[in-house]
């Protein structure tokens, strides 16, 4: 079984580039150049240097002692929350901004849901002195005010997406339209393993640093570089793609993806794409998505803005379809409980997205000698408003 993208841009039946002709030259330029650029010594040197000195990598692999005792096994947290800007998103934006520069682009556009990718993009644009426009749903602009302010302080222009549900999906549509209107000087910096080929592969490769570090860190701490299970949350799926990447071909490692069930998978208010979705095309990629019988894309719901997306990346659709991945879901309530538990046991306030991954712990079978890695994709500062409301602080 092959879990890497093929020449045509597909993972099994998923992926591809279903884009209007208007985008063909942009996407083709990227497709023709991305591998050569990111594999070049120049790129790797600059990327690795920035990850070390600017982002603060390697991020620790932390043995969570009290959490492990509670679940009767060995739980390690991959601390992506300790990255600059507070989440794994910056691994990708650092890489793509170097790529954009090498392609001679002057202007960066991005979409954002919770604002984490928007902030990570605005950050690297400030660093590299590039013009930055971030599309964000009008609804998300209201519910993520601190991140909007951060982007503005970093010099980005935040443009509201006013169509459809006014959330991440619509912000992505607006970014694509901007790219259609500005095909030559503009680089579209996608934040997840979604969109037309080569984006899912490009973003997965840039996030793969997560599992690359995990391997030597596990070897140091446990004597083996192979864990029994890796757990990560999936919205579009970039942190999961990065955490799984170097273990995709090792079937001994169980890869557990946790989607947002919202108010329950049958509640009509959910973002659990693999449970209620079906194959189709969203944002230029054939994947699993939430849609009605006529192919109209439906509105997702999750308490976590970062998981509030009606599709998943084509790699994840392939992992689901081939059963290489185990797909679970966690409700808003389960995620909130898991966030509280981690905070109380380990003194770490996780992002709501990452709390969905933690919420899988009570749902899986573990043995005392298992080694389990939970990818703690982001920190909870941005979610304090929600935590304050829910827990009444």
């Amino acid at each position: 079984m092959d879990f890497k993208v093929n020449k045509e841009g597909f993972y099994g039946e998923f992926g591809g580039a279903f884009i209007p002709e208007l985008l063909y030259p942009n996407v083709k330029e990227l497709e023709d150049n991305y591998m050569e650029i990111i594999n070049s010594g120049d790129f790797q040197k600059e990327y690795k240097q920035l990850l070390k000195d600017y982002v603060g990598r390697p991020t620790p692999l932390y043995f969570a002692k009290r959490l492990s005792e509670k679940y009767g096994t060995n739980i390690f947290l991959k601390r992506e929350d300790l990255n600059h800007t507070g989440a794994h998103k910056v691994n990708n934006t650092v890489g793509q901004i170097i790529l954009a520069k090498k392609l001679g682009k002057k202007r960066i556009i991005a979409e954002t849901g919770a604002g984490q990718h928007g902030v990570a993009t605005a950050t690297v644009c400030a660093l590299m002195d590039m013009q930055c426009v971030v599309y964000m749903g009008e609804v998300d602009i209201k519910r993520q005010a601190p991140n909007v302010a951060r982007m503005k302080m970093l010099g980005a222009e935040v443009r509201p997406a006013k169509s459809g549900s006014k959330t991440l999906k619509d912000a992505t549509n607006e970014a694509i339209r901007d790219w259609i209107n500005n095909p030559e000087d503009t680089y579209y910096l996608i934040g997840s393993v979604v969109g037309p080929h080569p984006y899912p592969d490009l973003v997965a490769r840039l996030q793969a640093i997560i599992s690359e570090e995990m391997k030597w860190q596990l070897k140091e701490k446990t004597g083996s570089e192979i864990p029994d299970k890796i757990i990560a949350c999936v919205g579009g799926g970039s942190n999961a793609a990065g955490a799984f990447y170097h273990f995709l071909d090792n079937e001994k490692v169980e890869l557990i993806a946790v989607e947002a069930a919202g108010k329950g998978v049958d509640s009509g208010q959910t973002a659990a794409t693999t449970t209620i979705g079906s194959p189709g095309i969203i944002h230029g990629s054939r994947t699993l998505l939430m849609q009605d019988e006529y192919g109209q894309i439906t509105e997702p719901y999750s308490i976590s803005a970062g998981l509030d997306y009606p599709g998943i990346g084509p790699l994840h659709a392939h992992l689901f379809k081939t059963h290489r991945g185990t797909f679970l879901s966690a409700t808003d309530k389960e995620a909130l409980d898991a966030a509280k538990e981690l905070t109380e046991l380990e003194g770490i306030i996780p992002a709501l997205e990452s709390a969905h991954a933690l919420a899988a712990l009570p749902k899986i079978k573990v043995k005392p000698d298992n080694v389990i890695v939970v990818n703690l994709s982001g920190r909870g500062d941005k979610d304090l408003d929600t935590y304050m409301k829910v827990f009444g602080y």
């Binding site: 591809g16 209007p20 694509i176 339209r177 095909p183 030559e184 192919g295």
Partner: protein, 258 residues
Amino acid sequence: MNKLKRLFKEKKNNILSIYFTAGYPVLDSALKILPALEKAGVDFVEAGMPFSDPMADGPVIQQSSEKALKNGMNLDIYFSQLEYLKDKINIPVVAMGYVNQMMRYGEERFLQRCKDAGISALILPDLPLKIYLNDYKILFEKYGLTNIFLITPQTSEERIREIDNASDTFIYMVSSSSTTGTKEKISAEQKSYFERIKNLNLRNPTVIGFGISNHETFSNACNYAAGAIIGSAFVKTVSEDSSEESIINFVRKIKEGE
């Protein structure tokens, strides 16, 4: 021969096509708009299948699609409306939408309904050329349908030739690098692009769309291509007044000027 192919065989210039969004401004609008367009002397129409995420469309068509979906428009109603009109109108109808709509409906079922509704061709802007050739061409042909491809100012000559080879009715020439929407004038840069395409002597006629909105832009476009397509400007007009009189007046102004 299908109606649209016949049209392009018989008429070589000044072909006027109008796009409208089915289900807009009200659910049954197509039943009035289509006959009015025929009466007004339009050569063929594009009937838009409203989609939730129309990424190639500008704000006017996006909003009309959103409203049409709120009005309850769906593919079953869309096909029934066109089936009902089939024997009442003569002008060719092109269905325009996005590939996910066809896939979800079931490709063969979708194409069968297109055929039953008398549709001549499809424009699915996000159906890539290569996937069409590998997976869909034979199927489309089985139902007597053809796919219309787009070219843009950024499309390379090599690719234009490939698209020309894969086409058999006309090529949709996008006037500038943009989503759909109204522009007032055609720039010198656009003219040189139109000129360049004209000089390629393609097998298929071209029709210019995106940014065509009035008599001036229409007649300018017709200097370089077999005709032109007007979308957003028409959608805007019917949003204000979708009566037969308003439609006939709109088309007359396009053809003759103010």
